[in-house]
Symmetry: C2
Subunit: 359 residues, 2 copies
């Protein structure tokens, strides 16, 4: 596998044009491109343009509504629920995060759940939307079930990420964006391709025994929650994943756990679903909701300074603030171009040919 | 070490009387006893009556205000901050959670931060207060710094727990209450006493190398974040611990990270503290904030049924819902009596003698 470098603006235009070509509105197509290219820039290619291939397959299987009209279906002063109308997840996701921000303006905090949605890209994109308003942003989503609860072999949870973005005054923001598992599905696939073994604590076999086979999911295995096994606190990772699941589904009426609709068309939609589509959950806090903004900012700057001055362990040269590595990627890739696997690019070119689009 | 069994009501009365004897109001003393005995009943003795010893030592060192007047110092419709007036943490904690619940009644959600506080017992106690109002409750706190960020040797974070309680209709509630580390300080001390080694991924030495010595904290070592090492996702545990720290401190004006005042009197209070005391953060959501309550309850019941039916791994007989093991302890210990280490009980008896109290 080799990488080619592609300018991020070019990649954004291509992505936009592909979604316009299947019938998305220009606004929606730009938003989808915004989220996918943000992932590429931040160095998270598992959630970047490679997803175009899955998204297009989902569209062809008629599992996505490309002309959606998401709408608010329930509301209180600080909360709301949006029905995503089975859109690509970015469309109700963006609408929901903006509504959370609006509610925070009047209430101090705002919280919006989304049901009837699909894969929404990186959780961090939405959390970071709050930063422009000098607010704290929160974003989470449930996902394809691949993770077994502690002591179980049932694949009942997704990698269920949580993202929180916190403005930090004169410093770059604190941005945590992490799956509630030790590893994402994409990294296992990469290990398999490279012929590597999976480290202990990543996956288990169909009986629940520890496995080092990165392909074990094809044989009834499962990803483990953050922590790995019970001794190392996997019940805490299970709690985290379960909380993201419940907040993304039961709260607002989406499907939970094993009922979450797979975001790849060759896997069937589960029967007897209790809810609508896949779900997300968003939140926003004004930084002056708890004390004057200047006090918050002064102390958040001091928090960053303090943790940046943590003494590195032997063999390490620095300690990172959450979001710092991704920001460095962004600075690098926006100038040098985004490294794209040639195989991924060929697949996207094939889609373009089918859509009679020159890229 | 042997255990003696003591009736939980007797233990509650004793605890109450001890705090009344040092000058706490009867109301405050009952509340402190409520929280400590709740920990004992739920099988979390590290946060139970053993803490009386530390609390009394903190009082004797004049590091606690036993006649506090906590007050609201900042407010928006859905948020507030309480200055804890350097009380035992239970007093502003209880006040804050009740205020979050009141705000949720009118706004859909309510959020209250507390500064100038101290150790507040188990996080779950406050989260569970929401259940009586058929609401979701959230509680977190920062704590004595013992945990090193990923790639660091600096002890900058506490075990920083997060608790979330969710009502589940006809079933017992979902109650997650967990530290953001693989292990709590108390368990390391227990391993040391028993002459056991610590499993890999629990602690590191002063240079940052993996260690199996449960006493390594006395020699500059640190507890690791949930995940253990970077390969196993410790940066995710670090993110979690950092988020609990920031929400418990920077948001409302308490001290963060290494500046958190130790809750044991032989450790000095850090110099140049940026905030006031130790901090907590509380939240509440109405279950009908996002859709009708009956829809939420129906699906939460179905969530519980689904996860309870997860297939156990080989060698295990059942899969647990978060909070289920603690509820079983409660049912058992409330009938059979609470097992108390004889050494702990002797220490408490000594305190009683000093306070001229018969127990």
């Amino acid at each position: 596998m080799t990488n080619i470098l592609i300018n991020y603006q070019k990649l954004h235009e291509t992505t936009r044009d592909l979604f316009v070509a299947i019938g998305c509105s220009r606004t929606d197509a730009i938003l989808i491109a915004d989220v996918l290219i943000a992932a590429e820039l931040r160095g998270i290619p598992s959630h970047g343009i490679a997803r175009i291939i899955d998204y297009m397959a989902m569209y062809e299987a008629r599992r996505i509504n490309i002309q959606p009209k998401p709408k608010v279906v329930h509301e209180t002063p600080s909360t709301a629920t949006i029905d995503g109308d089975n859109a690509f997840g970015m469309i109700p996701g963006y609408m929901a995060m903006n509504l959370a921000i609006e509610k925070a303006k009047t209430c101090g905090s705002g919280w919006v759940s989304v049901n009837n949605s699909n894969h929404y890209g990186i959780a961090g994109f939405y959390a970071m939307m709050a930063l422009k308003n000098n607010m704290i942003g929160i974003s989470s989503t449930n996902a394809n079930p691949l993770v077994a609860p502690t002591f179980s072999v049932s694949r009942f949870l997704g990698t269920n990420p949580l993202a929180v973005a916190i403005p930090a005054g004169k410093y770059p923001p604190f941005v945590a964006d992490f799956a509630t598992t030790p590893i994402a599905r994409g990294k296992l696939a990469m290990m398999e391709k490279k012929g590597l073994k999976a480290p202990a604590g990543f996956v288990q076999d169909k009986k629940g025994y520890s496995s080092d086979d990165p392909a074990i999911l094809k044989d009834g295995g499962a990803i483990l929650p953050l922590g790995g096994d019970y001794e190392h606190g996997s019940h805490k990772g299970y709690c985290m994943g379960a909380l993201v699941d419940i907040f993304s589904s039961v709260i607002g009426g989406a499907n939970f756990g094993p009922f979450v609709p797979p975001q790849i068309p060759y896997l069937p939609i589960p029967e007897n679903q209790p809810g609508k589509g896949l779900g997300h959950f968003f939140g926003a806090f004004r930084i002056d909701a708890f004390r004057p903004a200047s006090d918050f900012t002064r102390d958040m700057e001091k928090w960053i300074e303090t943790f940046k001055q943590a003494k590195p362990a032997e063999g390490h040269s620095e300690v990172f603030i959450p979001g710092e590595p991704e920001l460095r990627n962004e600075n690098k890739y926006s100038v040098e171009g985004i490294p794209v696997l040639d195989k991924t690019w060929s697949s996207i070119q094939e889609i373009a040919v089918k859509l009679k689009l020159e890229i």
